[in-house]
Subunit: 327 residues, 2 copies
Amino acid sequence: MTDASAPQRLAPTTDGGPVGPVMVIGGAEDKLGERVILSRFVELAGGGRGHIAVISTASSLGDAATDLYRHIFGRVGGGTVTGLRPETREEANDPQTVAALTGATGIFMTGGNQLRLSSVIGGTKLGAAILDAHGQGAVVAGTSAGASAVATHMMAFGSSGATPKHRMAHVSVGLGLLVNVVVDQHFEQRTRLGRLLAVVAQSPSLIGLGLDEDTAAIIDANDVLEVIGRGSVTIVDGSEVITDAFHTTGHKPMMVSNARLHSLPSGYRFDLRARRVLPLDATPNARIAQLAQGRIAKMVRQAAAEGRNDRAIERRRLRHEDRKASE
Amino acid sequence: MTDASAPQRLAPTTDGGPVGPVMVIGGAEDKLGERVILSRFVELAGGGRGHIAVISTASSLGDAATDLYRHIFGRVGGGTVTGLRPETREEANDPQTVAALTGATGIFMTGGNQLRLSSVIGGTKLGAAILDAHGQGAVVAGTSAGASAVATHMMAFGSSGATPKHRMAHVSVGLGLLVNVVVDQHFEQRTRLGRLLAVVAQSPSLIGLGLDEDTAAIIDANDVLEVIGRGSVTIVDGSEVITDAFHTTGHKPMMVSNARLHSLPSGYRFDLRARRVLPLDATPNARIAQLAQGRIAKMVRQAAAEGRNDRAIERRRLRHEDRKASE
């Protein structure tokens, strides 16, 4: 039986291999410093051998957005970069536009207004080509508006605030790379928990992802999500939710009970199918434990030596006085 | 066995009866309009036969805060109002100050700075007298800083934001009317979810209550919480929480997974012992269902009549034309 609320992919895996990763970024990602997020995108897109397509349809900055990312991807070791900026559905259906995605190993959608992405590209040949490339293993990333647009259900716009209210958020159809997920961005900075709770309470089959700025979630072909960047990813699981969403009226607060909330900073991974956080890689903790054990063993040896030889204390006192004298 | 995370009361119930209600208000409660919250407080304090003590220690406004509430409580049918404003521990230990609470049926703590309440009144004879009055059935209410101070663990101060971070909140000892609860106020307006999550993740035995402005939670002797007012009460239940609070450093985001979140508007009740929302009173819904059934039954009768008598349709057409003619 299909698990109605498990994440799904619409991308056809034409070559039998796994779909590529999806990378959703909360906006305002670091462009001048360590560039952790954009470097990771370039790495996932194959580094110097990769072919990246930047889609700037959401942006009102024209080609400037593409030029900025072309520059950064070059600086962090990326391969070729092609700019794509369809502004009408006609352009998004143009075979020449679609051809630009042939052989793409990475697709990057800029910020701006997600409704431009969904209304210009959704349901066009370019939209299908994005899914095809993804099905053949290309990483698809989006920042801000570009992040919102990746899922089948897209947070189109709404109001801010931490308390869920009726009519707070409007949902449209996104590009369909992720199913049963809804993405919101600039999450902490614009206080968007309320609208994410409201959408998940109305549609508990959706897992809500709230991305802080300069923070990204990378979702692999097994639907395991990894957090990187400066902030946290908030995950709202509504599978046990109790709500009055269906009879709240006007713009009143909405009752949402039993929502399960996860707030995950960099390094944490979350299994979207099992809906639970995964343990951290044991390596760093194991190393600390090893060091601590070494120190304790040394202290035990010293204490034992002192027990056998009372002059040890005297020696330590003398050493201490030596040190004081030389200060 | 004691349930270590169930809400408890420290107030001694000297007369064998139940403790009074605790009413915590998120600040900025309506003072000029319907005054739903302040009217309810006066009602719980016994209305015209009540004796209310207003404690304005938290406020920097001097006696003006007391005068404001005295005026409002009078307007909504309250009885006598006594002002209390100890500013030192010496004053809070003065038998004359303490005597002012004799026979009090309601105690109201104004807003301001909760650290003034805890540091001036906590652990003094006045602090004990508040617990005694409460144990004898008096309602104890606080707004803003006054709300924060009611619990054993008090959110003293902290920074805002929706994402939990290390060192975000500082906890002190409050007045002890509620145990295993931590209260935060101006909750949505000042975006305080992050610090409430951080405190509950570090101390999962605490139930976090986040009160929006002009919104109150009334907790009865059975630890059932009722929401009234314009906004919502956010309840954070950390009993199943997974966190790295114990090894996050600096001011970095904290991992908090599996927090259970409830956002409850006016009219909802929550059982703090069972940690679950209670169903709404059936009365209003049952009434709507009854009305709808009445309408449907009438339509069924009309349809049946039309079946028996084809002229019914003709009659309706004629009535419709009559109405149009008279427009």
